[in-house]
């Protein structure tokens, strides 16, 4: 048996974010929120561990008013229980780690699973911060996870070598997007998930923000965008360009 808390992040659908043509700033209001992609891998990993070892999976999401839909997806994928901490105001790993830690302390668990670096802000800060705040060890960047008695063991992927590493439970494990292919839940599960209540609550942690955004704009693309549908003509042009640069 292994009881797992899986951390789920919400993010804007990155594919749908377009810059405002006049300011270059992202038009976020036109891009709906969805479950952050590596959070999906973390949920899948948690549910697979439950299926293998038994236990309970609790999803934890710091979100805003759209978070209910994202939590329902976590339910449909197989999470047993879920908490939404409301009033998320955006990426701030310092504050988010404090908010999540406060709630985690109240939930019995053997493992905390999360994505290694979220697809939108990519900071990779949460595992280390939660480890220090909660006093639980991290096994980071896992592409496989096994539980052996009181220990968790992972295959850890680093830039130059891979390692098999282990630690005692309770522990925090961050996963990479290669660990699995998140399941598409069947319609029945989605309907059942829709009826399942969502626990929402506010945090008592005071927001601290240590940064000020000066500007946030799409870089200006100065590409020529000469696109050839006539392949032979395209090849001729491209060969000229490459030869020029090879000189």
């Amino acid at each position: 048996m292994v009881d797992i808390i899986v951390l789920v992040k919400q993010m804007h659908d990155l594919e749908q974010i377009k810059p405002d043509p006049s300011t270059g700033e992202p038009m976020l209001e036109k891009s709906p929120f969805k479950m952050e992609t590596i959070s999906e891998n973390a949920v899948e990993a948690a549910v697979q561990l439950k299926e293998k070892y038994g236990g309970k999976v609790t999803a934890l999401l710091f979100g805003n008013s759209d978070a209910g839909q994202i939590m329902k997806k976590a339910y449909a994928m197989g999470c047993d229980d879920g908490y939404v901490i409301t009033e998320y105001t955006g990426n701030n790993h310092f504050y988010t780690s404090q908010v999540l830690a406060e709630k985690i302390k109240t939930i019995k668990h053997d493992l905390i699973l999360l994505g290694n670096q979220s697809a939108d802000s990519v900071t990779g800060m949460l595992a280390g911060r939660l480890s220090a705040i909660l006093g639980e060890p991290v096994l980071g960047n896992a592409v496989s996870i096994e539980i052996e008695g009181e220990d968790a063991k992972i295959k850890r992927v680093l830039e130059k070598n891979n390692y098999y590493v282990k630690t005692h439970l309770p522990a925090i494990i961050s996963v990479t997007q290669e660990i699995n292919e998140p399941r598409l839940p069947p319609v029945m599960r989605i309907m059942q998930a829709g009826r399942k209540p969502i626990n929402s609550e506010k945090t008592t942690v005071q927001e601290i923000k240590n940064f000020t955004v000066v500007s946030n704009k799409a870089p200006i693309s100065e590409r020529k965008k000469l696109i050839f549908e006539d392949v032979d003509k395209g090849i001729e042009e491209v060969v000229k360009v490459i030869k020029e640069e090879m000189r």
């Binding site: 990155l14 594919e15 974010i17 810059p19 270059g24 700033e25 992202p26 790993h93 290694n116 697809a119 939108d120 990519v122 900071t123 990779g124 595992a127 280390g128 911060r129 480890s131 220090a132 705040i133 060890p137 991290v138 980071g140 960047n141 680093l158 830039e159 130059k160 070598n161 891979n162 390692y163 590493v165 282990k166 630690t167 005692h168 290669e178 240590n210 940064f211 955004v213 000066v214 500007s215 946030n216 704009k217 799409a218 870089p219 590409r223 020529k224 965008k225 000469l226 696109i227 050839f228 549908e229 392949v231 090849i235 042009e237 491209v238 060969v239 360009v241 490459i242 640069e245 090879m246």
Partner: protein
């Protein structure tokens, strides 16, 4: 400013010492003993000995930070580096300004740049933070004629135990300094397609690279050949994208290229928006023709 900089990769550490030495005094810490970076301008290079995991390294850096009066700890953004930075930031009660491509200091504040929304935007910020993670390749490493003092530090215990190590089969090559890169994406369709791309790369004296799925999911190329937000950031004179759709995470890794050439069957592929020249066609027909004409 007095900096302490850390990486487990001494090539990255040499880059960071080079970057920081024009911004203040620098000492460095490393958990690797290969190619110690003692000629780049660090006053002291600390060699961290023992089980170098995120927690033992974080504890050692915290000790140095508190005993030696550093203003900031600057860490290379690697898997281990990010874990160390997050853990250390709690220990010294600071925030972390992460994943930076630019870092300057003015009036006690850090002025930074990093990617936003998976690479869609560039965020300029000011931070009140003492810990920073810098993207690999922040600058080229340059020796400056000085020699650092080497000091050993024995690491304390870690709660992470290594069971075994598995070396990776890395392709070598140097994407960061390549003049021409031929990069392949999912559109390649099969592993055998690598040969087609390799022939083109050979004809132009270039390096072969790939998108995240090609290098990490399908492993058609070794992991160190991945270009993108989570891989290498490259800036060749010519970047030739074969069957790459142009997801934003990939674009973030090749935006610094001088000229981008894309070949893709799908006329509406986003890569064409980020290209100087595009050919709408089957890469298996176009690439061999290019190879033939360029080899001639």
């Amino acid at each position: 400013m007095k900096f302490l900089t850390f990486s487990e990769d001494n090539q990255l550490l040499a880059q960071m010492i080079t970057f920081l030495r024009s911004r203040g005094e620098v000492d460095a810490a490393t958990s690797s003993d290969r190619d110690m970076p003692i000629e780049y301008g660090a006053g002291v290079v600390y060699a961290l000995r023992g089980n170098a995991q995120y927690d033992s390294i974080s504890a050692a850096l915290k000790n140095l930070f508190e005993s030696s009066g550093y203003d900031a700890v600057v860490i290379a953004s690697t898997v281990l580096g990010r874990e160390v930075a997050g853990h250390l930031s709690v220990g010294i009660g600071s925030d972390v300004a992460p994943e930076l491509s630019s870092l300057e200091f003015k009036d006690g504040k850090a002025i930074t740049k990093r990617w936003g929304y998976g690479g869609k935007t560039v965020i300029e910020e000011t931070w009140n933070a003492r810990v920073f993670t810098l993207l690999p390749g922040i600058t080229d490493a340059e020796k400056n004629g000085s020699e650092s003092t080497l000091k050993d530090i024995q690491l304390g215990d870690s709660r992470v135990e290594i069971i075994s190590e598995e070396p990776k089969n890395l392709g070598g090559g140097n994407l960061e300094s390549a003049k021409i890169i031929v990069s392949v994406g999912r559109g390649l369709g099969k592993k055998e397609g690598i040969e087609v791309a390799q022939k083109l790369a050979d004809a132009v004296g270039g390096e072969i690279a790939g998108s995240r799925p090609v290098c990490l999911d399908y492993q058609w190329l070794s992991e160190d050949r991945q270009v993108g937000l989570s891989g290498k950031k490259v800036k060749p004179k010519v970047y030739i994208a074969l069957g790459i759709s142009g997801q934003i995470q990939h674009i973030a890794g090749m935006r610094g290229s001088k000229i981008v050439i894309a070949i893709n069957k799908d006329k509406s592929a986003p890569i064409f928006e980020e290209s100087d020249y595009g050919i709408v066609g089957d890469l298996y027909q176009v690439a061999p023709k290019l190879t033939e004409k360029l080899a001639a």
